[in-house]
């Protein structure tokens, strides 16, 4: 029966390859799921005296959206976030990532801000602490400050409905 072995091995490989066609080899899964959101204290865009920290959000389910004024996909996402900020009650915090040219304040003033707060991460260090590799990336953090979900890439209607809403509901948002 060992003459069938090569075929069997091959068919197993084909199965994996078929599955692989639906996966993205470069997507980095977050090791923070189920772990506490890393702490930080950053000045807020537009009001340097104010400081934002994840601890401020304890007791609520909230969304952390990592974005940047220079990021093209974030512009696309902006409209969706604006609509969401009006249609639902989960606060969206917008981490302003590596905004070296200081464009965030002007941009948000011009286009409106969907954000509850905009902590300013100029150096990108907080981004590194969260395992951010690019923008936009979005996290759901629960009432106890534990990271529950990470989404890489812009949020659109579909993504919010199928990925975010169920999770938010589950967490008692």
């Amino acid at each position: 029966m060992k003459r069938w072995l090569p075929l069997v091995v091959f068919l197993v490989l084909v199965g994996f390859f078929a599955k692989g066609l639906f996966l993205n080899p470069r997507e980095v899964p977050s090791p923070f799921i189920g772990k506490p959101a890393p702490d930080f204290a950053l000045p807020v865009v537009g009001n340097e005296a104010m400081v934002f920290s994840p601890a401020d959000m304890k007791g609520r389910v909230w969304v952390l959206n990592v974005w940047a004024p220079w990021c093209v996909s974030c512009r696309q996402e902006h409209g969706v976030l604006m609509a969401l900020s009006q249609s639902q009650t989960v606060p969206i915090v917008g981490l302003n990532w590596k905004d070296k040219d200081r464009e965030a304040a002007a941009l948000l003033a011009q286009q409106g801000s969907p954000y509850f707060a905009v902590p300013d991460d100029v150096s990108g260090k907080v981004g590194i602490d969260y395992g951010v590799t690019g923008t936009p990336e979005t996290y759901i953090i629960d009432k106890a400050g534990i990271v529950r979900l990470k989404h890489v890439g812009p949020i659109d209607g579909e993504v919010w409905k199928n990925k975010f809403e169920p999770k938010l509901k589950e967490l008692g948002a």
């Binding site: 003459r3 069938w4 090569p6 075929l7 091959f10 068919l11 490989l13 084909v14 994996f16 390859f17 078929a18 599955k19 692989g20 066609l21 639906f22 996966l23 080899p25 470069r26 997507e27 980095v28 899964p29």
Partner: protein, 654 residues
């Protein structure tokens, strides 16, 4: 017009390929000579039309026809002419067309050099190769047409990736494709044997030269890729175990096992089913490589930008071709009764061990390359498997076969005694061990990896020389030794030379990363490097800052090197172009980093000393020569002559 002509030529080629496969295969099965005779002309016709299509693509690139999407994406009006030609194979579509062109080239070669083969075998071999052509031509026409028009036409192209604008691009892909597409011939011979049920030593003798030539091309292609990476990438490395690199290396490992297994089947009629399976595996790995690089399933620097739908087509094709061949194998292989007996240290046993180790090495590379996919597909997280894994695992696994290279060629067929061989080899062994141990001590101190590398290289050389001595014992002159023997010796010695080079450069290379102003100097390995500043100039499709670095040794100037930092006009991509001063014993390698001030007066400069790195390339050249030499042995050519001699002439025998 011309692109449409090219497109039309591909459609005709597809029809010819269908004819080339269906009719002769039916003819061979039914014994109908008229159908079998269709194979040769159909194959040659297919080649003509594929070549015509390729010529049309080259024309579109040379005339800067940016209304053709492929040209717009991969070329640029300022791109030098030679790179406009290489750009034809720089994209997914273009390289697939090259795949098909080279396959039809091999098919034509088989159709011409097969007069001495039985008609049904030729019909089957050409028919199988035709089926593969059908698959790829269909893939091209349906999903990856290189002649697609861009409406409206682009004003100019997006330029070829600057990394590809190098000598290496001119020769590496064609050589590589000649290699792993060439394994289709061995594959077709194997399927033909399974279909006909006839598998004997003659079959092995027919398949062997084709396989060896393909192997030689593949060796050249892989090494050219490494040489190119070394010169072009600017960090002095030459092998990264990237999935695409592995995709070419795995067929090479299987192909090497195959040429050794064919030796046993030809000489002793043994290992028939195993050799057939190896031929299927080698080409399957080539096809697998094609899939991996174009499907987006693995992350690779070399990967073509493709989408999963193309990946699905190739996977389907793979499943049919490889799956079908393995079903045929499972069904027909037991019918192949294998040959005689042999004992523990006979040459057959050594060659079998060679196959075991090479396939274990191949399996390890496959395991490492695919493991991230396995884990991700099973939802077990994502990991990366890179050079640290492969280097740690590959060397120990390969070492046994490198050791056996000293023993196998000296072992007798059928029966050999261990005590006898041990006594013949004991001096070579002792010298190799002692030198391997002492050499690192004279350089930088105890180094087990260097010892292993030196031991193996010296062992292979000494036992190779013993092989010459054995053959010349009865007064035979060097020049009258058969080419097959010379080919084997050169291939083995070339590999040893390469191993010596790898051992030396990997263990003893040095580098320095410094900040240099005009007039500054730095030293490395006895050489002094003086920075004379940079000048700006305009290349054909880039702007460059050209550095001048004087290299001297012992106060005497030996070279002026000009590393460059280029920015390409169309893409804005920056590129580091290193400059190298090579000689037989070392490379002195200089690369510019970033300018450290706004006027670009002060630069970060990296200097490297790479001892004996050219032994890698030289060793590989010797290996390739050995391969071609072995394939041109008398016994393969005599059959051709016999077929053209009048009937009744006495057979020459070899």
């Amino acid at each position: 017009m011309i692109p449409e002509l090219g497109h039309f030529a591909l459609i005709v080629a597809l029809l010819l390929a269908v004819t080339q496969s269906v009719l002769p295969l039916i003819g061979a099965q039914r014994g109908k000579a008229s159908l079998m005779a269709v194979a040769r002309p159909a194959a040659q016709g297919q080649f003509v039309f594929v070549a015509l299509a390729y010529a049309c693509l080259v024309y579109a690139f040379l005339t800067n026809d940016f209304s053709v999407e492929n040209v717009a994406r991969n070329s640029f009006s300022q791109l030098p002419e030679v790179y406009r030609i290489t750009a034809t194979w720089g994209s997914h579509e273009g390289s697939m067309l090259m795949w098909v062109l080279i396959l039809s080239l091999w098919t034509t070669a088989v159709s011409v050099f097969s007069r001495h083969l039985p008609d049904d075998m030729v019909a089957r071999v050409l028919g199988i190769m035709g089926l593969i052509s059908v698959g790829f031509l269909a893939f091209l026409l349906v999903t990856s047409n290189p002649f697609d028009r861009l409406v409206p036409a682009a004003p100019d192209g997006r330029d070829m990736n600057p990394l590809l604008q190098d000598w290496g691009m001119i020769i590496h892909p064609p050589m590589l494709y000649m290699g792993y597409v060439g394994f289709a011939v061995a594959f077709a011979f194997a399927i033909a044997a399974l279909l006909s049920g006839k598998l004997d030593a003659a079959w092995a003798r027919w398949s062997r030269p084709w396989t060896t030539v393909a192997w030689a091309f593949l060796t050249a292609g892989i090494v050219l890729g490494a040489w190119w990476a070394y010169r072009e990438l600017g960090w002095g490395g030459w092998w990264f175990w990237d999935p695409t690199e592995n995709a070419s290396f795995m067929p090479w490992l299987a192909g090497t096992a195959l040429i050794h297994s064919l030796a046993v089947t030809e000489k002793r009629g043994a290992f028939k089913a195993w050799t057939v399976l190896l031929a299927l595996i080698a080409f399957s790995l080539s096809l697998l490589g094609t899939f991996l690089v174009r499907s987006g399933v693995l992350s690779s620097v070399h990967a073509f930008a493709t989408d999963p739908s193309r990946g699905a087509f190739i996977l389907g094709f793979l499943a049919v071709v490889i799956g079908g061949s393995l079903v045929l194998y499972a069904w027909r292989a037991p019918k192949m009764v294998t040959g005689g007996a042999f004992t523990w240290f006979s040459r057959e046993a050594m060659l079998l061990a060679n196959n075991v180790v090479l396939l274990a090495a191949m399996g390890s590379v496959l395991l490492g390359t695919l493991y991230p996919l396995f884990m991700d597909a099973m939802g077990m997280g994502k990991i990366s498997v890179g050079p640290p894994y492969f280097n740690a695992v590959f060397v120990p696994v390969m070492a046994p076969v490198l050791f056996l290279m000293g023993v196998g060629p000296l072992a007798r067929w059928k029966e050999a005694s261990l005590p006898d061989m041990a006594s013949r080899l004991k001096w070579a062994f002792a010298v190799a061990v002692v030198t391997g141990f002492l050499l690192p001590l004279t350089l930088e101190g105890f180094n087990p990896w260097a010892t292993l590398g030196f031991f193996l290289a010296i062992w292979i050389v000494l036992t190779g020389l013993l092989g010459f001595r054995d053959r010349m014992k009865n007064g035979t002159r060097l020049t009258s030794l058969p080419r097959a023997f010379w080919g084997m010796q050169l291939a083995h010695l070339g590999l040893a030379w390469g191993i010596a080079g790898i051992t030396l450069v990997a263990n003893y290379e040095q580098e320095r990363d410094v900040r240099m102003n005009v007039g500054d100097h730095t030293s490395l390995a006895g050489y002094t490097f003086t920075f004379q500043g940079t000048t700006e100039y305009d290349g054909p499709n880039y702007r460059a800052a050209r550095g001048t670095i004087e290299v001297s040794q012992g106060g005497k100037k030996i070279a002026t090197l000009h590393p460059e930092k280029r920015i390409y006009n169309a893409s804005g991509m920056p590129m580091t172009e290193a400059d190298i001063h090579p000689n037989f014993f070392r490379d002195v390698y200089v690369a510019l980093g970033e300018p450290l001030d706004d006027e670009a007066k002060s630069w970060a400069v990296r200097v490297f000393h790479k001892p004996y790195i050219n032994w890698l390339w030289l060793g590989a050249v010797v290996m390739v020569i050995g391969g071609f030499l072995a394939a041109s042995d008398r016994r393969y050519r005599i059959n051709v002559r016999k077929a053209t001699a009048p009937a009744g002439a006495v057979a020459q025998g070899s």
